[in-house]
Amino acid sequence: MTLDVARIRKDFPILERQVHDGTPLIYLDSANTSQKPRRVLDTLADFYERHNANIHRATHQLGEEATQAYEGARARLAAFIGAAEPAEVVFTKNISEAINLVAYAMGNASATGQSGRFALGPGDEIVISEMEHHSNIVPWQLLCQRTGATLRWFGVTADGRLDTSGIDGLITERTKLVAVAHQSNVLGTINPIRALADRAHSAGALVLVDAAQSVPHMPVDVAALGADFLGFTGHKMCGPTGIGALWGRRELLEEMPPFLGGGEMIEDVRMERSTFAPPPHKFEAGTMPIAQVVGLAAAADYLSETGRDAIAGHEHGLITHALEALAGLEGLRILGPTEPVDRGAAISFTVDGVHPHDMSQVLDSRGVAVRAGHHCAWPLHRAMGVQASTRASFYLYNTHDEVDALVAGIGEAQRFFGAGGR
């Protein structure tokens, strides 16, 4: 099954836009945030125009419609990632909040003296990797500071793969949690989650997967991955901003203490203490972004109907093209795997004599939108020995002509800054 990209592009109104007085937009920044198809935009408008009410508490028809739309969306997203049941999907505002939810719940378990798998203390360890996004580093640093636990991490090989050579010393009986990215937002590297999860489980540790960069781009099945928790965010998968999700195995969500307290997450409240609703509601305090949840499910439906295998195949073609074309440019260094194997469609690079900020400025002047900087992965950039990089990231609506436009723009930047090249 191949994608009809010309037809897909018609689904995204913003792709008709021109920038800088008449230059067609070439959007290569989908790893940052994706564009939204008409169906998602219409779903948001339809919800507000026809069904808007608060959920779970309004005893009128609109309230019932809104609740149905919200819980129906939960069921569709559960199916989208292969969850055993809808109650395993907790809505959060993004993946940062999803990861923080687990980190703070573990902190709460530690502070209240609970024993069991969520409580941490001195001598316990959390294992992450050097290629993580800041959102899968900082919450664990903070948790370790609060509990006295120790943070450890996998390094990265020179070609941008997870360095698992020291795994025996890293994942041990002291490890309480292993938290790694399914796909690096900088390198594009797809990590061997199943093998890591099996190792972690044999050591008695939990496994959290940052799937922000994988769920939008390929079929993801939480059972096949062997994860205990998996987070993703809506705005990178054609959905609205302000909505993401944490998937967790049912028995873990039941055992884990809450993170945010407030309305709707309780069973009974007395002045002295409260008891809590069963999951997922235990973790959804206050009025949730209801329209965004419904919009996110529309995005998941759109991706499913388009075909996630077909999307992954199309992106594989684009990254293969990009890797070949960029490898031929003088002075250009690709960060991460240079072969399109276990690799998604984000490509970060440096160019001698042209700072990434300047590169992205020249590209922008030609309508090519990319990201420049450390992409919220500062430790990874330090590990790769660079200050910053330029990143192009592709999605279902990108074309091979757009890859060529990127290559031409890089050449123009080299000429403009007198940095060699052709």
Partner: protein, 163 residues
């Protein structure tokens, strides 16, 4: 979009051939400033002298306090590197108080959203950065070295304790 509106030839010249670059001794204060958006950084040293003799520390710059040297190590884009070069040209040899006035003028220009009319008598080569104020993402690049210089000078005059 015309790239030349941002990247004036003066900026590219300073970027390719930065003035006063490198870290020198002796110095009275050293600071390291980082742009967390892109990871650009500058380490900047300031050396002051008092035109009346002696070095009066404490209580901020006096009328007689002169910027004897500014040296720096800048890692960053063309705008941030060129800005460090232009800054050092402008303030070395001048009274620190005058340097602060140039700083204020430059800051106002950067915050002008493209509306500022730069005074070349005050800003010299820094007028070339006027176009940067139309690019919100790049204003921090142009200001990085200036913020570092202001911080280092405040420390060197004893107005502020080192962080």
């Amino acid at each position: 979009m015309r790239l030349e509106s941002l990247y004036q030839e003066i900026i590219l010249d300073h970027y390719r051939h930065p003035h006063h670059a490198g870290l020198r001794e002796p110095f009275d204060a050293e600071v390291r400033h980082v742009n967390p958006v892109c990871g650009d950084e500058v380490t900047l040293r300031v050396t002051l002298k008092d035109s009346d003799g002696g070095l009066g520390r404490g209580g901020g710059a006096r009328a007689s306090t002169v910027v004897a040297d500014v040296s720096y190590d800048a890692l960053g884009c063309s705008i941030s590197q060129a800005s460090a070069s232009v800054l050092s040209d402008l303030v070395i040899g001048r009274p620190a108080i005058e340097g602060m006035k140039i700083h204020d003028e430059f800051l106002a220009l950067m915050q002008s959203q493209g509306e500022g009319v730069p005074d070349e008598d005050v800003l010299g080569d820094a007028v070339a950065f006027a176009g940067v104020s139309k690019f919100p993402a790049r204003i921090k690049c142009a200001l990085l070295a200036w913020m570092a210089w202001k911080d280092a000078t405040a420390q060197a005059t004893g107005e502020r304790e080192p962080a």
